[in-house]
């Protein structure tokens, strides 16, 4: 178990370093001069040069990279070109919103997908199954930029239950979370269903039934635990995407999270912020992947204890 974890951890560190390098290089390779944007076209050449030096952009790329890495180690991500504030502060300001939205979405997704998928599998071929899968098909095919406004229209404008946008009070998270989880739960419930169907056909399920166990124990204790193994992978990918900020949904609801910050930064060519956002998104993915691996090991003794078959 320990060696499994060290391996995963070492891999994660390597990936993060790769991401940092690539993001840094890409930002410096793409056309467009941040100095020009900051000062406007009317600025004089000496002013530009002065800012360039001030930002350290006159130094060789490798040196800039080392500086950047050095800053990273101290959690210094530079200064926003737009607001002149520390990028770290900006991120920390937005992160709680994204974490809250991701957490609630994950909970709602699981609460919808697990019962739906299990129920559809156990009652395969029944109207229940058809109903659950029709819902899932709808969920997959409705885009968030449509579902979001629709929910706002119904629940905010007509019924007035929740705020239209922004992040004020507990109620404000409901609609964005619902928007996000509909699509995720739709995909996840299909996965749960097919995985559960496969597991229910396994020999050990027959063994469990031959023991005289009641159906709920066969389905949940013996079935679901095994069926969750492949589901964990998908869940990890989905959670990773959420942590990176659900760009569209955050925009629709003006949710002050990382996604919205990224969009704002791109629009104003605020490179340090873009760079930091991309970095955060990738690190989020890597972290979640690591968590997925750990969850996998927890759920499957064959991985935890090594060896197979």
């Amino acid at each position: 178990m320990l060696s499994y974890l060290t391996q995963r951890l070492a891999g994660a560190v390597l990936v993060v370093f790769g991401v940092i390098s690539i993001v840094f290089l890409l930002i410096h390779l793409i056309p467009g001069d941040p100095v020009e944007i900051m000062l406007g076209e009317a600025a004089s050449a000496t002013d530009r040069e002065a800012l360039r030096v001030a930002l350290g952009l006159d130094q060789p790329v490798m040196l800039q990279f080392t500086h950047y890495l050095h800053g990273l180690l101290q959690l210094d991500l530079g200064t926003s070109l737009q607001s002149r504030r520390s990028v770290t502060d900006l991120l920390l300001e937005r992160l709680p919103a994204t974490l809250l939205l991701a957490g609630v979405t994950l909970a709602v997704t699981l609460a919808m997908a697990l019962p739906l998928g299990v129920f559809a599998a156990v009652r395969r071929g029944s109207p229940w199954d058809d109903g659950a899968m029709t819902f899932s098909m709808l969920g997959v095919s409705i885009p968030n930029f449509w579902l979001g406004p629709l929910l706002i229209l119904v629940f905010s404008l007509w019924l007035g239950w929740f705020p239209v946008s922004g992040r004020e009070g507990v109620g404000s998270v409901v609609l964005p979370a619902l928007t996000l989880s509909t699509g995720l739960a739709a995909v996840l419930s299909r996965m749960v269903r097919s995985s559960m169907l496969e597991v229910l056909g396994e020999d050990y399920i027959r063994t469990a039934r031959a023991k005289g166990l009641p159906p709920h124990r066969v389905i949940f204790h013996h079935g679901l635990r095994n069926a969750l193994l492949p589901v964990i992978t998908l869940l990890g990918l989905q959670l990773g995407a959420l942590l990176g900020g659900a760009v569209i949904t955050e925009t629709v609801f003006s949710w002050p999270g990382i996604g919205l910050l990224t969009i704002e930064a791109i629009q104003s060519r605020d490179y340090p912020v873009v760079q930091a956002c991309v970095l955060l998104i990738s690190v989020g993915y890597v972290l979640v992947n690591l968590l997925t691996d750990i969850a996998y090991a927890w759920a499957d003794p064959r991985i935890r204890l090594g060896g197979g078959g």
């Binding site: 060696s3 060290t6 391996q7 070492a10 395969r124 071929g125 396994e202 020999d203 050990y204 027959r206 063994t207 469990a208 039934r209 031959a210 023991k211 005289g212 166990l213 009641p214 124990r217 204790h221 013996h222 635990r225 095994n226 759920a299 499957d300 003794p301 064959r302 204890l305 060896g307 197979g308 078959g309």
Partner: protein
Amino acid sequence: MSQPLIRLDNLTVRIGSGDGAVRPVDGVSFEIHRGETFALLGESGCGKSMTALAMLRLLPQPAGRITGGHVYLDGEDLTALPEVEMRRVRGRRIAMIFQEPMTSLNPVLTIGDQIGETLRQHHRLTGRAARERVLELLDAVGIPDVKRRQAEYPHQLSGGMKQRVMIAIALAGEPDLLIADEPTTALDVTIQAQVLELLQRLQRDTHMAILLISHDLGIVAGMAERVAVMYAGQLVEEATRNRFYAEARHPYSRRLFESLPDVGKRDHALATIPGFVPHLDREFSGCRFADRCDRVWDYCRSHAPSWNLGSERHHVRCHLADPSVPAPASVVKERTPSRHADSAEAAGGTLLDVRDLQLHFPIHRGVFKRVVGHVHAVDGVSLAIPQGRTLALVGESGCGKTTVGKAILQLLRPTAGSVRFDDIELTRLSGKRLRRRRRDFQFIFQDPYSSMNPRMRVGDIVEEGMIVQGIGGSRAERRRRVAELFSQVGLSAEQVQRYPHEFSGGQRQRICIARALAVDPRLVICDEPTSALDVSVQAQILNLLKHLQIRLGLSYLFITHNLSVVAYLADRVAVMYLGRIVEEGPVAEVLEHPRHPYTQALLSAVPRIEAGGERRVIRLEGELPSPASPPRGCHFHPRCPAVMPACRESYPGESGDGDHRVRCFLYPPDTAGRQTAR
């Protein structure tokens, strides 16, 4: 006689609905008494397992259901019980163990949990009392070090251990009836002997009845008191064990006996049962076996035979046993087994010469994948096969025999040693030169289905080798050759356009044989080619292999664990244990006068069908050790009944006369050849 424990009355099962519905169990009746072992015998697809599942009402859902008949347990009709009541029967009154211990245990729960579950469900045992009972049960089924084992997961246990755990789960409910569905089919013979002995001992101790489902005449002979033969959803014969083995009366039962390979039939083709088990989706007007029967006459096709109650409780479903049916005017076909043509020429020179073959797999550990040791899968194997002859390589699973096959073919590159094929050193060939050579040696695998691409037509599968090797001429010529190969292996040339899934197991193996033959090989390595097949189909494949050898002068390396196949087919036999050959010699010599204690144990563990066979099984303790850390000295010494101090010190050298070699300290290197010291 007292009331039977369980009585099946005209049980009928239907799977599916409408036109596609099949009746895998069609009016089956039998009874089992307390403490008795009753065997249900038959080939795959005859309905044995469905009968068992129907008794527990565990038919595949939602398609399967009981459409007629009753199952009485102590007089109570199980088919009429509500599901909740039925759960008190499953696991408590009737327990079941399955063929595949590997997949029948839940991989994410500890074995202690899986046993404890039954205790909680049926005996309300929890906590400390349950834990203690779990340990008792594990101990009862012969699992060592129970405290540690009960916290382990199934993947940490060997196949034999898993089946013991399955038995412990079954015993946990203290059932009146244990249904054992092919309980040892997935296990090695020595482990099989252990498990069967365990079942017999537990039966004596607990007085439970056993319903043994098996296709193996040998196992049934050793275990059962009464035997019923099932064919196409019906019982066709039922008798006490002694009567059945002395005088089986149904033509199907008799054919099963005749199709078993053994040493006495070496010169003859084995009896086979032509055709297939009929599809059970239709109504039968005549006898279900009529199309395959060698004693069929007109009456059989128009009148279904009834269940004829005979004397001494020997019942048969056949017109031949029915005095009210007029006997046929003449016996239609009385076949005598055809003789194999004599082997064309005497053995030629040595075709394959393997010397000191070694294959070690590195074991990687840690973050940097350091090599911390080696698995000595093959550790100094030497063997030779003459032109046109068969060498059998036998041993238990995990002993390295398949690896030897792959190393000879250079599919795995040997670590050391030489493989000379027709005086060419294969280990030094590589790339194109090796690929061109590959046409000379082909492989036939254990599982024909998974060794064919399911999306290719079988004709293309057979042709592919010729294209790769650039032989067989033009496309039209190759096509002709494929058709010719198909007829050579007993398939029709029209079938080339079909896909692998459209064939039965035996037919698929024929296609694999055709594929191997397509490139005109001289050596064919057959890795357990019949172990996934029924006996009657196995007989067909063995006949075909023997026939092809005589006609084409092929040499075979026959990798198998089945000693009766060895006795029938092989010229020489090499016995392998943990990466080394421990005994090698002519088939008759080795099988009749085995020298190595391992060979002796292996032979004694094979179930035999001699009636009333009170024979002594040399019981091997424990299981095959890991080849990553073989025992010091002779690898076999921890399990050897004749172990001596010297065995713990060093690996014995080779001894014996020129033809029959053995590696064991019982036979001193210089004298053993002339002595028969056993």
